[in-house]
Symmetry: C2
Subunit: 375 residues, 2 copies
């Protein structure tokens, strides 16, 4: 009788499963950890690849365990196979990720297994980035910024004509800039898992609107790109706000307020500081600078989202999030710092970098200029 | 007191949630259906976009329900907000998708709510494609095949030199073909959610190996691409096997066996037929044609996977799968038909199309030639 840790999920969805095995597959696979030993149960389709690619795990054949389940008069489905496996290993109690499907947990409990929720994340050490992981994240963030260079060059090369931008003879759209960035990233073996945001004017006031249609001069264009390295599976995440042509004075002031807030936050971040302290400082700064957060014309405007989120093998991971919630940043955390201001009148402004938290402060993982106006 | 249906998940992961609302967001959102009325509870970040994009649902503000949760002395987390919402609606019992996280279900049960598993999929009607959905799937599959044209043209233009392929002056690799296909798809507003498989020779014998390094002449190259339309969110999925140059006689025979099997399966598919019947017929055909499925040199070779799977808003969905399992195909199902043969000696061959099941037979959703040799 002993405790054990079990994951039944797809490594595409479950970052802990990938972290524990360095193996990925589109479908659900079964992972078991017991007395320091790790096992993966794979179908014929994944078996050989698992033996080559998975790290530090012994590979079992799902087909064989389905046969064993049948012999043990269990259904050869996931619950039956897990029950057979646990019985063979004399395991009565398992810890699983809190995201585990409840039909699976209900099924195992009916068979008298004890099922408890593990920590979140299930592999808590994954939130503290090792030097190697930090290096992978620097690589991912550098590549993310190289795609910003692609976008900025397009804006720079564009011509302003009759309130529109023209690039290579065509009206420049959000879609075109996004395509050129993602094409560049694909060629570098980075995956645009989520579409890059290229949103101009009022569109940028919905922070998750990815943007569409013609881009316009003399107004803010938010570009937010968060690609994943296909090789390391770590994400980059960055935002810059550009304005092709001359920015209106109000937009310049708004940009300056966001830049000040972002750099103040980065200056404050260090191990031990409360995320809420940082978020509140930004809120206070915006209010004092004449950029309130409130409903205007029935729509919430101003600083309408959190300051940042943890990032790594997931785009949003622990420590989630730097916002009005109490929690302490620790050495080795990697978080985004991305204050923004959104007004339907002037448009949206957001600036985002990723930092690695140290005992004395934090390190920005890669750099890119913060320039609003593109001539 | 009344029953209700609830989903708490991200529409990016949960196709039923997208299906029910036509709204997508990266983070978890809350959906409630009661007495034919539908509600989405969205954070400030998604609220305005939800009001514009979500179909047939009333939008509630998460911030307001968090306040109500606090006033009702509930924690303002997901469990507390759901409990507050259910209490306000006088709901005691909810049906949720079976994939729902068990920590959430445990938490609600502790608060005396009854939580039961719904059907799988949660919106069962989504498996029976409407004429509009079928049209979207035809569009997706046509675009998938247009990316095969890109790949085939590259192979056709390539020159064979010293056992390698050269295209535009460079050694042609799996990565390059994949990039050119995905670049084409991105420009058409299709997302390469999963990387296209471009796998030559022995690599193709692991059906989920995406392939890497130089492609070679006179051997099989499996190309399997399954992009998603960003506009409709429906997937295409197709596989062709090519050979640049002259195919060895053994490979030609293997290809002919797979082509016969695939076309036989398509000819058999109609409403009412058992998936197992089709799968067994293919297995029998392969055995009779001298292509057994067995371990050779310790590795399982031959026809080592299922015949097909349901597809739609998910790449693998119900009816999953056409294999050794008993289940009846029904009118309106959309499934892939993709037999394959894999031998380390000759390489892998797979051919895949998508069909729409009708009362009398099935319709192939889009067409592309089946030609092994590319001169």
């Amino acid at each position: 009788m002993s405790n054990a840790r079990l994951i039944f999920d797809s490594p595409e969805r479950n970052a802990d499963l990938y972290y524990a095995t360095r193996f990925t597959a589109p479908d659900d696979i079964l992972f078991l950890e017991r007395q320091g030993k790790r096992y993966l149960i794979l179908s014929d389709l994944e078996y050989e690849r698992g033996r080559k690619e998975a790290k530090g795990v012994r590979i079992f054949s799902l087909a064989e365990w389905q046969e064993k389940a049948k012999r043990a008069r269990q259904e050869p489905n996931s619950i039956g196979v897990i029950a057979t496996l646990l019985t063979a290993f004399k395991i009565k109690k398992i810890t699983v990720p809190r995201s585990t499907a409840f039909y699976l947990v209900d099924g195992l409990r009916k068979k008298s297994f004890k099922v408890e929720s593990g920590t979140h994340p299930f592999c808590p050490e994954r939130i503290f980035k090792t030097p190697q992981e930090k290096k992978w994240m620097v690589e991912a963030q550098r590549m993310t910024f190289r795609s910003f260079r692609v976008a900025e060059d397009i804006l720079r090369q564009s011509k302003i004509r009759r309130g529109l931008l023209y690039w290579k003879g065509k009206v420049l759209t959000s879609e075109r800039v996004r395509f050129e960035m993602e094409k560049f990233l694909l060629a570098q073996n980075f995956q645009p898992v989520f579409s890059a945001i290229v949103a101009g004017g009022r569109q940028a006031c919905d922070p998750h609107c990815i943007g569409s249609g013609p881009l316009r001069p003399h107004q803010a264009i938010i570009i937010d790109c968060f690609p994943r390295s296909a090789r390391t599976r770590f994400y980059g995440d960055a935002t810059r706000t550009f304005c092709k042509g001359k920015a209106p004075p109000e937009l310049k002031k708004q940009y300056a307020a966001v830049q000040f807030a972002q750099e103040m936050a980065i200056a404050k971040i260090k191990a031990g500081i409360n995320g809420k302290t940082i978020h509140r400082a930004i809120q206070k700064h915006f209010e004092r600078s004449g950029f309130p957060t409130k409903k205007i014309g029935g729509k919430k405007q101003g600083f309408i989202h959190g300051t940042g989120h943890g990032i790594g093998l997931e785009i949003h991971e622990e420590p989630t999030r730097i916002s009005g919630v109490n929690f302490k940043l620790k050495k080795g955390h990697v978080v985004t710092v991305e204050p923004g201001l959104y007004y339907y009148k002037t448009g949206g402004v957001r600036l985002e970098d990723i930092v690695y938290v140290t005992g004395r402060g934090c390190e920005v993982l890669a750099n890119y200029p913060k320039r609003l106006e593109i001539p």
